[in-house]
């Protein structure tokens, strides 16, 4: 329990520090925040009034507490470019991001674990080498390059799938696969090595000697043990997916949180950039915390401390 409490306190501290860091980073922005809202012909007096209205002339730490107070009361403010309510934007785009992220997350495990098991059972055969070469490729190819290749192949040449857009199931396939590629490759490798470690162990030999069928040894006993490290590292995949989503969403025109954040940064729409980066940072921190919890689940010894 102490481990759990310790990691939770640590998570909350990290959350507080990173919210301050994100806030400062975006507020210190070199660009003029008023440029996004006012036309180029606006006078300096107009800009000054807007800064005053937006509270940009207060000291930054004061702005931080004002901002956090507003967030807690549910007032997220408006976009500077089209005046849309940020609370509405986050619900709409957040839903899209969760669909894409969840699809990628499921793919990582539903494809990665069986392939890793297959490779370990067929150790050193053609199947094993084929799967492992694929996984090396999956880790080596930059995902934006993979995205372009898949668009070229499946959209332009074969015409099977749409190249971009949202939110038909057909349009989800390519971005989800590209987003999942690296995590799947890692999961294949981890599953294979975890399975092999158990397959070679003495207790497996004992089970076999006891006359248990190979399917039962692998399916029930080895697989369960191999699953522990995979589950315990599942939380880390969340952070990875959040990071890559920034690029994949832009390429495939998937209107999720990442795409909005990148556009907001490019347009200097700082209230949007502020809140959406905060959302993504919170997701990453929570993902890392889940990884800690998974570690706890996988290591019963930690529970006694």
């Amino acid at each position: 329990m102490r481990y759990l409490a310790g990691r939770t306190v640590y998570m909350l501290i990290i959350l507080a520090i990173s919210s301050v860091a994100v806030f400062y980073a975006i507020r210190l922005s070199g660009g003029d925040a008023t440029a996004a809202r006012l036309p180029a012909s606006a006078t300096e007096a107009d800009r000054e009034t807007l800064r005053e209205v937006l509270g940009l002339n207060d000291p930054i730490y004061q702005q931080y507490f004002t901002y956090m107070g507003r967030l807690l009361s549910g007032d997220l403010g408006n976009s500077l470019t089209n005046n849309a309510l940020i609370s509405k934007m986050v619900i709409e785009h957040g839903r899209n991001s969760i669909i894409l992220g969840a699809a990628a997350f499921l793919l990582v495990f539903l494809v990665g674990v069986p392939l890793g098991m297959l490779a370990s059972v067929r150790r050193n055969t053609f199947t094993d080498q084929g799967i492992m070469s694929l996984s090396v490729a999956g880790m080596a190819v930059p995902n934006f390059w993979l995205a372009l290749l898949s668009i070229w192949l499946f959209a332009s040449v074969l015409g099977w799938l749409p190249s971009a857009g949202c939110c038909e199931p057909k349009q989800l396939i390519l971005p989800a696969i590209v987003l999942a590629a690296e995590g799947t490759a890692l999961t294949v490798r981890m599953t294979r090595s975890a399975m092999l470690e158990n397959l070679d162990s003495d207790w497996v030999r004992t089970l076999r000697a006891g006359g248990l069928s190979e399917a039962r040894v692998i399916g029930k006993h080895v697989f369960r043990n191999a699953l522990i490290p995979i589950i315990s590292l599942a939380g880390l995949r969340i952070g990875q997916i959040v990071g890559y989503a920034l690029i994949v969403e832009v390429i495939f025109g998937w209107p999720g949180l990442g795409q909005v954040l990148v556009n907001a940064v490019l347009r200097r729409d700082y209230p949007v950039a502020q809140f959406f980066s905060l959302v993504l940072v919170v997701m990453v921190v929570l993902g890392n915390w889940f990884a800690d919890l998974g570690y706890l689940a996988a290591n019963p010894r930690l529970r006694k401390i």
Partner: protein, 312 residues
């Protein structure tokens, strides 16, 4: 990619050679040079790398030409057309000229990021591992904190704070890679500090600075360099990805990711505008990975352990 484990990598002849070199105190780097020639993967990586570096450093000088020059009378030209070796893009700019400059940008980012990450990572990791106690706890805490965030997200935050451009990319990627290197270096230093030769140096009354400089650094430099070669690839890919989404190199300065992004709208018309920078990117990453894998084979500390084990 290299399937060679240390055990299979060492033939009986290799073992004897290593043993001989250990006894004669032939330096790690001279042994490295010998292995460089014998290790084909490393050699091909080095050759490919030299080609890429040559293209980036000498290309713009030799090819000349203005990478910003727009020529609407000759857009989407195919490769090997008159006076455009690799064709032109949607503004009629010469792809070859832009490619050389883009490779140069990529190299500059890779060198900047890795230099920053390696120097800072080595310094922080060594101090944390060597001093221990509160110094270690606070430094490691900060490094873990940074390392916990995905690289692209950090880079987007930097772009939000400092404005998009290569400076943000270098600082963000450098920061995350620094944390990664510092974590590994700290671990290495911690395990080395337990060893007898460091204890002996302490007992001998050497100053901390001297122990670090003369005894610790030479032992962690090889693994740190191998690690750094991996992060060169990370830096190249990250820069390309960020330039691709518009947060990296700003036009008119070309970069590989940005050229790929610009060309992808004209895939049907002239796919070379995308394929050429894409292949250059693959070549860069491939050469760095080959060099990294080769270096790991050559400098792998486990190899030296084995040789020492044979000696005693």
């Amino acid at each position: 990619m290299t399937a060679s484990t240390p055990e299979s990598y060492l033939s009986e002849w290799d073992r004897r050679l290593l043993e001989f070199e250990e006894s004669r105190h032939i330096s790690v780097f001279r042994r490295g040079m010998r292995n460089l020639v014998r290790n084909r993967l490393l050699l091909s990586g080095v050759i490919l790398g030299l080609l890429v570096v040559g293209a980036g450093v000498l290309g713009p000088v030799i090819a000349g030409g203005d990478y910003e020059l727009i020529n609407f009378s000759n857009i989407h030209a195919a490769p090997f057309s008159e006076d455009a070796l690799l064709g032109t893009d949607h503004l009629g700019r010469d792809t070859a000229t832009r490619l050389f400059v883009a490779i140069r940008v990529s190299l500059a980012v890779a060198v900047g990021v890795t230099g920053l990450a390696l120097v800072a990572g080595l310094a922080i990791g060594t101090v944390a591992g060597f001093r221990g106690g509160w110094t270690d706890r606070s430094l490691s805490g900060v490094m873990d904190f940074i390392w916990g965030f995905p690289l692209i997200l950090v880079a987007v935050l930097f772009a939000g704070g400092l404005g998009e451009g290569l400076l943000s990319v270098i600082l963000a990627v450098g920061l995350v890679n620094m944390a990664a290197i510092a974590r590994v270096v700290r671990g290495e230093v911690l395990s080395l500090s337990e060893r007898e030769f460091i204890e002996a140096a302490r007992a001998g009354g050497l100053s901390n600075w001297r122990i670090i400089r003369k005894h610790l650094l030479p032992n962690i430099l090889a693994p740190a360099l191998v690690l750094a070669s991996y992060y060169v690839a990370v830096a190249i890919i990250a820069e390309a990805a960020l330039s691709f989404i518009g947060l990296g190199a700003q036009p008119p300065l070309p970069s590989l990711g940005q050229m790929v992004a610009e060309g992808r709208n004209f895939l049907q018309l002239n796919h070379w505008e995308t394929t050429v920078p894409g292949l250059a990117l693959v070549a860069m990453v491939l050469s760095v990975s080959l060099i990294g894998d080769g270096l790991r084979d050559v400098f792998d500390p486990r190899l030296r352990h084995e040789a020492k084990g044979l000696e005693s």
